[in-house]
Amino acid sequence: MAKTKVLERKPLSLAERTYLPQIVTGLKTTLVNMLRPSVTLQYPEERPVIPENYRGVPTLVKDPNGREKCVSCQLCEFVCPPKAIRITPGEIADDADTAHVEKAPKEFDINMLRCIYCGLCEEVCPEEAIFLQDVFSVSGYSREEMINNKQKLYELGGTLPDRHRKWDKKKAAELQGAAHH
């Protein structure tokens, strides 16, 4: 067993026993702290800095051309642990500019009452179409209001830069004779 050394406690001096010098020291401490700036964030006007990898509300994004990236493969719907996502697949019209993408969601609902912000949908998405971005406060007056539909999801998501431009390359390849296929 380790040796223990019992320290003698020094008897309190008279000044210490009156308790008054300690009170003065304490008053000094609180006064110094009072003159320090406050750390309060005035919330609705001032917003906290959200880190890059924050998992906020899941949103749908468009690519820089303004094309919706989701191709309604429904992987996120399948992976979603609380089954918060519901996708109704649809087709892209043949005469559309992006007809070669073939599919897009007709409806895309995320129920924010079920969502657990796990981020698996973002992780699984092969098209990098769904992102958990920096929105962190969700509120509504009814259950229906808490279901984000497709339009709302795109409003929240906006446009993100795209490094791959997969469908641009595919279209170019189709036109120029299958260089990549």
Binding site: I23, G26, L27, T29, T30, L31, N33, M34, R36, P37, S38, V39, T40, Q42
Partner: protein, 367 residues
């Protein structure tokens, strides 16, 4: 116009005084919240805005950030909240208790001098509602009635936490009143200089007039210290807030109270703080005298009167700040520590101080 000066003028003065003291009490609630915030690196209330004043470009947001409209909102809330009286209380006493608590708090201000007025002949008059010769005796007598409100509240609420709070607070107030009374005896012995024509006695105005040179806190630091501690105990402020003591008694004596009745207790507490600060300033910090040894620069007449009142108010405001400052510095005493401090330290100290000062004053008067 005789009836006007005889009956109406005192009423107008009294109402003005009540309005001033009550608004100082209301705004010291705001000061409490603001200073608490600042000491903890927060901002305190800064959202409540009035429709028209709050919309003035620069001033409005500034006042809103200072929280100046917050007391209005708080007061309205106390007025309009549902007034719930629990079924198990003793109803008559339960309703009487807040009234009994607030009446002494507001009565003591009658004898409190708050400024001076020098008339054309150079005679100095006190600004006070009733300049009675036994001012301090009146204050001590009436303010000790405040304990009845707390005891009644604790008993009539008919549940255990208010009961404990009431008992604690009454024991504490009775204990500290002894030390308080003994600590101010030397002050009045000092003030009553045996000169021909000096009829100061127990008059508060006389005490202030004596302090034109030295303030009494310098002559009698021990008295000042004992009185200060006793004032903290009498107003039930931290570190002596045994009566409330949220951690062990929920809310203490006012646990069962809500809305306007609670508001009365709340205002009474802060009115006590205002009056206690004022009494301390009058007794020990020179009242409205400017600074030690610097004669008051107030001119004669009304201007001088207003200036002396403002200087007096400034001292009171500092003292209210001191109350709040101490609250956020010291932890609450344990109950037995409060009793030990009151009976075994302050009371003997006050007696020793009284004897010492008696000898000192006797020496001064014979030499």
């Amino acid at each position: 116009m005789d009836w006007f000066t005889a009956y109406m003028l005192p009423v107008i003065y009294a109402v003005t005084m009540i309005v001033v003291v009550m608004s100082i009490a209301g705004y010291s609630v705001l000061a409490e919240r603001k200073v608490s915030g600042w000491i903890q690196h927060r901002t305190g209330p800064n959202r409540t805005a009035l429709p028209i004043i709050g919309a003035i470009p620069v001033l409005g947001p500034f006042l809103t950030r200072l929280g100046l409209f917050q007391p209005l909102a708080d007061g309205l809330k106390f007025l309009f909240k549902e007034d719930i009286t629990p079924g198990h209380v003793r109803r008559g006493y339960f309703i009487a208790a807040p009234i009994i608590a607030i009446v002494p708090a507001l009565t003591t201000m009658v004898v409190l001098p708050f400024g001076q007025y020098t008339d054309a002949e150079g005679v100095v008059h006190p600004l006070v509602l009733a300049n009675i010769d036994i001012g301090i005796l009146f204050i001590l007598a009436v303010s000790s009635l405040g304990v009845y409100g707390i005891v009644l509240a604790g008993w009539s609420a008919n549940s255990k936490y208010p009961f404990l709070g009431g008992i604690r607070s009454s024991a504490q107030m009775v204990s500290y009143e002894l030390a308080m009374g003994l600590s101010i005896l030397p002050v009045f012995m000092w003030a009553a200089v045996p000169e021909p024509g000096n009829l100061n006695g127990l008059s508060l105005f006389g005490v202030v007039q004596v302090q034109q040179g030295f303030w009494l806190a310098m002559w009698q630091p021990v008295s000042a210290l004992i009185f200060l501690v006793a004032v903290f105990a009498e107003t039930n402020r931290l570190p002596f807030d045994m009566a409330e003591s949220e951690t062990d008694l929920v809310g203490g004596f006012h646990t069962e109270y809500g809305s306007f009745k609670f508001g009365l207790f709340f205002v009474a507490e802060y009115a006590h703080i205002v009056i206690g600060s004022a009494v301390f300033v009058v007794l020990f910090l020179g009242g409205w005298n400017f600074l030690p040894f610097i004669p008051a620069p107030w001119p004669d007449g009304m201007v001088g009167a207003v200036m002396s009142v403002l200087w007096f108010l400034l001292k009171i405001f500092f003292f209210i700040f001191f109350f709040i400052w101490v609250r956020w510095t010291l932890p609450r005493f344990r109950y037995d520590q409060v009793m030990t401090l009151g009976w075994k330290v302050l009371l003997p100290l006050a007696v020793a101080n009284l004897i010492f000062n008696t000898l000192l004053i006797a020496l001064r008067d014979t030499l």
